[in-house]
């Protein structure tokens, strides 16, 4: 069982959350000028690293806020949790 520390609710089991994927993607700032390549990169391409992975989890059965998690996907060990704008890697 993965245990995630929601900054609002505290430590909770993974089944209170819905996985919301890679947290390193940034939506093109200006849709009017973004190229097809920018959208392709944002919508479809993933680094998919084997190691620490920045990701969002949605606390659907709790406060319903999004939580950012740094998790080692080779062991499932959670390394850090915070609000969506937290810089978890810098805190490591």
């Amino acid at each position: 069982m993965i245990r995630i520390t929601c900054p609002h609710c505290g430590p909770r089991d993974q089944d209170e959350f819905s996985y919301a994927g890679d947290a390193t993607r940034t939506r093109p700032a200006d849709p009017a000028t973004a190229s097809a390549a920018d959208w392709h990169d944002y919508v479809y391409l993933r680094d998919n690293p084997a190691g620490p992975h920045l990701e969002f989890w949605h606390h659907i059965h709790g406060c319903r806020r999004y939580v950012k998690v740094l998790r080692d996907v080779t062991s499932h060990q959670v390394l850090a949790c915070g609000w969506p704008d937290a810089d978890l890697e810098a805190a490591q």
């Binding site: 993974q14 994927g21 990169d41 479809y44 391409l45 084997a50 992975h53 996907v73 080779t74």
Partner: protein
């Protein structure tokens, strides 16, 4: 190398089985090969086999970081079917199913392909309508499909929950009678032996660690057994696709997720074919040794760990019990996980790449085992001709840029849902 036959079996049976010879060689890597296939799973081995068999390209190496068959090809629940709707998928999987039908003979190796039927259960009117539509589309594509009502299902599987209290009543089902199961290890070994007999070198304990490049071309593959020169390179590393691609600076529309599977204690014959639950994600069949083989959803988060967590175990078992309550008295013997290459539209990629002489085979999600022969066939063609075979024309990497996606389930770019 000796053909396997009933005569060789009798001869060896009467002489203490001392005359069998190894099924494939264990060669040292040559300085270079015309084609290097990275990944000794089902797809890599099948590709090497069809390169030699269909295209006469035999100066080929399959490089595998562990042992062949140690990846997903040896970890899956062995369901084989071709019940797809979209043209880009349907003809590919049907071609693969046709290859399965002649595979043991073609390989001179018994892959134990058993066409025991794949039945999807339906639990409401809407689902039965969707099944009718899928079945009709399949039949229009020349693929067998049969819509069963509740009594038709009951005739085939009398032990499901038909009671008044069933959590989701069974309304009927969609049957593909030509679908079934195969022996997963035998598929890896059969293709390995077939490729080896045609001159392909299978290099085990040979991990790819990097590439030597000259501009847009790969000139050599760096491995734990030294650098090997190459003409063309085919990559078929399933859950490790993004890692190997990153060695070339390529970023792909793939996430790696873990899928679990389970086997029960052996029982007397109980489940004839493959049955899937329609009110949740659950599939079950019975192996020839009697164990029930079952599985459900992926774990829904990125993973390279080859083992899953308890929430999905609980979910899989709950689905199973809803469909067949008597499963509560069956003990589970083993469970394990494999790393799936989940693509962004749920369909595979067999494609050329931005690197001139690199070809990509990936994105198999839950369903690459059934694709093994068809994938090897199409990928070998793509590598040999530098152009896709008719069966993988719509499986190119460029579809994510052009928007011509193959999203069979209409779920969008959310890999965990495919």
């Amino acid at each position: 190398m000796a053909e396997y036959s009933v005569f060789s079996l009798i001869r060896e049976g009467l002489s203490g089985h001392k005359g069998w010879i190894r099924a494939w060689r264990d060669p040292e890597p040559k300085k270079s090969y015309d084609v290097i296939i990275i990944g000794g799973g089902g797809h890599g081995l099948a590709t090497a086999y069809y390169l030699a068999r269909n295209h006469g390209i035999t100066n080929v190496a399959v490089v595998e970081k562990g042992w062949i068959g140690g990846g997903n090809v040896g970890r899956n629940t062995t369901i084989v079917r071709s019940n797809y709707m979209l043209d880009g998928n349907a003809h590919f999987y049907e071609h693969s199913l046709k290859l399965w039908e002649g595979l043991s003979r073609d390989l001179n190796y018994n892959v134990m392909f058993s066409q025991r039927g794949v039945l999807n259960l339906g639990h409401c009117d809407g689902q039965m309508d969707a099944f009718a539509r899928r079945g009709n589309l399949m039949r229009l594509n020349g693929i067998d499909a049969e819509l069963l009502d509740r009594e038709g299902v009951r005739k085939l599987y009398p032990h499901l929950d038909y009671s008044k209290d069933a959590r989701w009543p069974i309304y009927g089902g969609l049957l593909q009678a030509r679908g079934g199961t195969a022996r997963h290890d035998a598929v890896a070994w059969g293709f390995a032996r077939g490729a080896d007999r045609r001159g392909v070198d299978i290099l085990q304990n040979c991990e790819v660690t990097g590439f030597e490049r000259d501009g847009d071309r790969i000139t050599g593959v760096k491995t734990s057994r030294g650098t090997i020169g190459c003409g063309r390179v085919g990559m078929a590393v399933a859950g490790n696709t993004s890692r190997v691609a990153a060695m070339l600076g390529l970023k792909l529309p793939i996430e790696s997720h873990v899928l679990q599977a389970f086997v029960s204690e052996p029982l007397k014959p109980l489940i004839d074919g493959v049955v899937t639950y329609g009110a949740g994600h659950f599939y079950i069949s019975q192996s020839d040794k009697g164990g029930l083989v079952l599985g459900g959803d992926i774990d829904f988060h990125n993973s390279y760990a080859q083992r899953g967590n308890l929430p999905v175990v609980e979910n899989v078992m709950a689905n199973g019990l809803a469909m067949m309550p008597y499963l509560s008295r069956v003990r589970i013997l083993r469970s394990w996980g494999g790393i799936m290459d989940m693509s962004m539209d749920g369909s595979p990629i067999i494609s050329k790449t931005p690197v001139d002489n690199l070809y990509l085979n990936a994105g198999w999600c839950y369903g690459g085992f059934k694709a093994t022969p068809g994938s090897g066939y199409a990928f070998a063609h793509t590598i040999a001709h530098d152009a896709p075979h008719e069966t993988n024309r719509e499986m190119g990497l460029e579809r994510f840029e052009t928007g011509y996606l193959l999203d069979e389930g209409g779920k969008g770019p959310t890999p965990k849902l495919h």
